[in-house]
Amino acid sequence: MNKRYFQIGFAVMLIAVFLLTACSPAAPVATEQPAAPVVTEAAKEMVTIRWRTRPDNQQEQDVYQKISDDLSAQLASQGIKLQYDPAPVTGYLDKLTTEFSAGNAPDIVWIPGASTADYSSLGVISDLMPFVNKDSSFKISDYYDAPMKELQQDGKLWGIPRDISTLVMYYNKDLFKKYGVDDPADLAAKGEWTCENFERVAKELTHEDEKIYGFSMSNWWGPWGWFVYAFGGNMFNADRTACGLSDPASVEGLQFMSDLFNADKVAPPPGIEGGVGETEFLSGSIAMFPNGRWMTPGMRENAKFNWAVVEMPKCAAQSTWLFWGPYVMNAKSKYPDQAWTVLKALTSPEVQAQVAALGTNIPSNKAQSAVDAFLNSKPPEDNQPFIAGAAYAQAEIPLYTGNWGDIVSGQYQPNIDNILYGKATVEEAVKAACEGANPLFKKP
């Protein structure tokens, strides 16, 4: 009998262990926790605001952790404690989506600008306009206009940009010197940094026998989209309810890009996102490579050559991208008022200056103190091109009129691939892209 009780007891224990471990609750969205130092009545009412960014490296993560700790100390008097919850680059949005779905996403999260529309249309992030309207200390005008405009939809405000980055041309100064080619910064100073001269120097720098190429780029919408806007085109029509790639100016821009790869052969085929092009540029076999500020830390660490940045060349139009990513508030946050206080603090000039000093991000807040911290983060010696482009840049587009993944990743990108690898003419590719994409836009 004892044996039998033992068996039953053992089985019940196994079940209990199994259930308790497998079904243990996930981390709470925001929980009341006692303050660490002194347990007082006030401390018992502390609320924890969990927040998240996507740090690229440990150094960046450490800075965010310090910011979190500092703000925790500052906001303790208001009963707020911060819990920094970083997530890795790989699968960042997949993890976040799952957490939103499960109801345990952080109170405040950073997301890429283009994802804002997806999350707002799904109702998982809060409209911040009511908080702005009742908070006289916060001014929308303190931030760059373009991202703030993109973040607003029908009177709602979906987030506050954490940072911005323009697209600039990184270049290998040693290769320019080796082949005696005009330095882009000198050309820019003379107002001669045009698409014609960009193409010319790319040709002069290309020495296929030595596997040296004048230009390369990663293959995602940022770099190829630049060619579209630089010739006066647009990825979408005016009200973003249809494909804009078949617009003659867009076609002209894409043709210029195609020629660099297929006719002039000044560029090897680009790899997948963040892939082959960037690696080859770092290895010293590519002379010019367009990218955002996020590439700077990697350049500082890995580039074994002298390098600099210059604004993107002027083609039919002077253009660049203004990439941005906002902090958004979880619509299910239990403590929205406290979350707003934290969100405001995270986008303040003081905090942005700390992050900007790392060199990874350009502050989204226009306050001079934050901008100065960024400009002093060297190399590159001259950080001005990152800031200068903001004046005329096309802001990264959250597509409120359709699913970005279905339209841009699903229809545009495969056809752009065909242009880059010479598998289709520009006309064929944009026809296929627009025919595939147009039915996917929400019509007004």
Binding site: V12, L14, F18, A22, L122, N219, E273, P414, Y421, K423
Partner: protein, 336 residues
């Protein structure tokens, strides 16, 4: 049933319970729920709305456009071009992904099963150090696909990859001969992962490399299970080694070949990790497989209902193919 038997039965069920609960919570319930979701517009965040067969119709259905058909004919196009415009799939990407998956599966089955069999045949000898060789060929099976992918990224690099460098070396070697004939063999500069003509093949090679060791071990075990007296009798009768291979080895191993064929087919039709890590389905959707597509739809584009319907279509496809394989097995599989 006696009281003792009842007690024993109860004990048995209690011991089964943890595993059964695990099966229920992590497999059976999600399975049933995903079947329900496949008939809804579930987007992960809002309550699912029942939409009947709409997801399946979107995946499998076709649009008929008679105007486009007439327009092509009016412009002097051929009847084939006109039909192409007349009938268009509602979701062309689904068919593209399905086609890629089939190409992938055929490639891996060819590049994996036959070489694995040959390898097992070679390694089934009693030479010194054979265990080391067997271990070496099995290493890719235990290696993580993420780690392997990093190595293969380098192997496949267009400009500095070891594969293109080797091919260039061979081309130069051939040129040493052909130069007397007045022409050079061009150095291949293949964008293995970035050119849509080669990207799927590159992943097929990687998957085959990662799987071949496992199949080899299965074949090796089966080879060693063939009674020696059959070969001895054949030798006495004057059969050559090749004749023995086709008349004894292969027939005696047909059940094992069938097992490897079925399990490999099931696995490769669900291929996901390789395109996810190496190419993200690109370039130009050339490596977009059906499971990667359903992942994109479900998790990246918030169309979980549609993603669930694709998952069930993949299940149906695998079920049909496996059933077919079992039906055809009677014709070639020998069982004692």
């Amino acid at each position: 049933m006696t009281a003792n038997q009842r007690r024993e039965a109860l004990d048995g069920f209690l011991f089964l319970l943890p595993n059964f609960l695990g099966f229920l919570i992590f497999f059976a319930v999600p399975l049933v729920v995903s079947f329900y979701y496949s008939f809804t517009d579930y987007n992960l965040f809002q309550p699912p709305k029942f939409i009947g067969l709409q997801n399946y119709i979107t995946a499998l259905g076709f649009n008929i456009d008679t105007q486009a058909y007439q327009a092509v004919l009016a412009q002097g196009g051929s009847i084939f071009e006109a039909i192409k415009e007349l009938i268009t799939p509602k979701d062309p990407t689904f068919w593209l992904a399905l086609g890629n998956t089939f190409k992938y599966a055929i490639g891996v089955l060819v590049l994996c099963i036959m070489p694995a069999f040959f390898l097992a045949w070679l390694l089934n000898s009693k030479l010194r150090g054979m265990a080391i060789y067997r271990g070496m060929f099995y290493i890719p099976v235990v290696a993580s696909i993420v780690g392997s992918a990093l190595v293969w990224f380098w192997i496949y690099n267009r400009d500095s990859g070891v594969l293109n460098i080797t091919l260039a070396y061979l081309a130069n070697g051939l040129t040493n001969i052909t130069q007397y004939l007045g022409f050079k063999v061009p150095e291949p500069l293949i964008g293995w992962l970035v050119d849509s003509d080669y990207s799927l093949l590159s992943l097929v090679i990687l998957t085959s490399w990662a799987t071949i060791g496992y199949d080899m071990v299965i074949f090796l075990a089966a080879l060693q299970g063939i009674p020696r007296y059959l070969f001895e009798a054949a030798t006495v009768d004057g059969a050559s080694r090749t004749y023995s291979l086709f008349k004894i080895t292969i027939p005696m191993m047909s059940a094992t070949i069938f097992f490897v064929l079925v399990t490999n087919t099931i696995a490769v039709l669900q291929i996901f990790s390789e395109p996810y890590i190496m190419t993200q389905g690109g370039p130009a959707n050339s490596t977009l497989t059906i499971v990667y597509y359903l992942y994109q739809k479900g998790f990246q584009r918030f169309q979980m209902g549609y993603g669930a319907s694709l998952a069930w279509l993949v299940f149906a496809l695998i079920f049909v193919i496996t059933t077919l394989q079992f039906r055809l097995a009677n014709r070639w599989v020998y069982e004692e």
